[in-house]
Symmetry: none
Subunit: 140 residues, 4 copies
């Protein structure tokens, strides 16, 4: 079970993972991460914020990017080096988030691949934007 | 319940959150994020990798940073703008991770605060390094 | 804590367990099992399928049968040998599923009991049908 | 996102999913399914059973088969018709289970594919054996 090696990757290659974000995702993630910010778990508080409702943790959507990188592109064996994230729009309970990963640049000498990493909601709103640097798995 | 406003923050202010990473944290996070990479959930596979054992998702440690920002510094009401992450060392089951957040720069005009965000394990090894940009909560 | 021995069982004996299937049941089960099929976790995808909405994993309902066998009939100490399952109708979020187990045949020589195992929803629709073979617990 | 159609499948095609079974998997599954049989969640009781330790629910391993069918072979869009299961050996906390699915027979008229479904532990012991009947997804 090995992902794609640097030789098997080309600029423009892409993969994605889609999930509807549930209340239980947010609550479990709150418990795991320790981020019990009332914006995520307090309906009364959240109703009085700019967003008018509880929102998902930005890092929860970032995890979907990690899922694509670790499972599909490049996939198992990848070493995750860096990830830059811009949180652009809130994710609400019931939103369906698609994380997409696309190969931007390949540096064969340093064995590093730059990926465009983005999350969109069901309305095609870009909720998370960024880039990642990874070392793809080596040939077996 | 409101965090610190930009007027209440000073460079050098810091806060942290510490948690021992359990197998169940990793397994639940795998399920929530969809990142079922065998490095995280397959002991036999992971034993044959460079890291010799199952490791936590890098984004799991990143969540602890989010916890400090959302809960303590600046705390509730903060808008999370950007997060840059460098994954420097693996986190194993049973490692105790301290996420620390420190105020680096304050831009009163743009209402933006730059934070140094780091995670250390129990041996003081820096496992995750980066910076975050946030808008602290406004005065009520 | 011991279940019923083969001597204590009679054809027609029955027991059941009922649970309303929540979104969090489905999401947790997806994470535990690794079955992140979009029919279960992607509302947008599922809306365009024959079933028009996210559905529960068939194996989730099968677990309710296991609960009746392991907890009630025959109960603790039972060895689960075989289970045949026919998935007959979808289970949606919010459906209330009753798993029923009934003694069909008793083979005292081989110490094997055949059970009818069925799951119904709140409208009495048979969603799962099958039979199980078990060894009831021995006398203590 | 669609799995393989019946035309794209051939006898002998196979796929698998591997996971190390954790205590938290068993505990969460107990909670979801309602199967709180002491063999799964009571260490003291389980220490005095034939298996000498808490064991996983047989249906938990069956879920890994469902994961392969729903995610890989045939994959998204498959309708799960029947599953026969023989529970052959116990699964303990820490065992690494590989669920394998292999195409046995293809019936193009009835649009039904018969799959061999098996789970092995890290010692190649067959812990679960059976067959499944599925309708692969149609051409789009």
């Amino acid at each position: 079970m090995t992902g794609k090696t640097i030789e098997e990757l080309n600029p423009g290659d892409s993969a994605h993972f889609t999930k509807t974000v549930s209340e239980s995702d947010i609550y479990l993630y709150a418990g795991i991460s320790g981020d019990l910010n009332p914006a995520h778990i307090d309906h009364e508080y959240a109703s009085n914020t700019f967003f008018k409702a509880r929102i998902a943790h930005g890092m929860l959507s970032a995890g979907f990017i990690s899922a694509v990188i670790g499972m599909k592109l490049p996939g198992p064996g990848t070493i995750y080096r860096e990830q830059n994230l811009k949180f652009l729009a809130p994710v609400h309970i019931g939103d369906t988030i698609s994380a997409t990963v696309e190969v931007l640049e390949i540096d064969p000498e340093r064995k590093i691949v730059t990926l465009a990493t983005r999350c969109f909601n069901q309305d095609k709103t870009l909720v998370l934007d960024g880039t990642a640097l990874v070392n793809p798995p080596r040939k077996r």
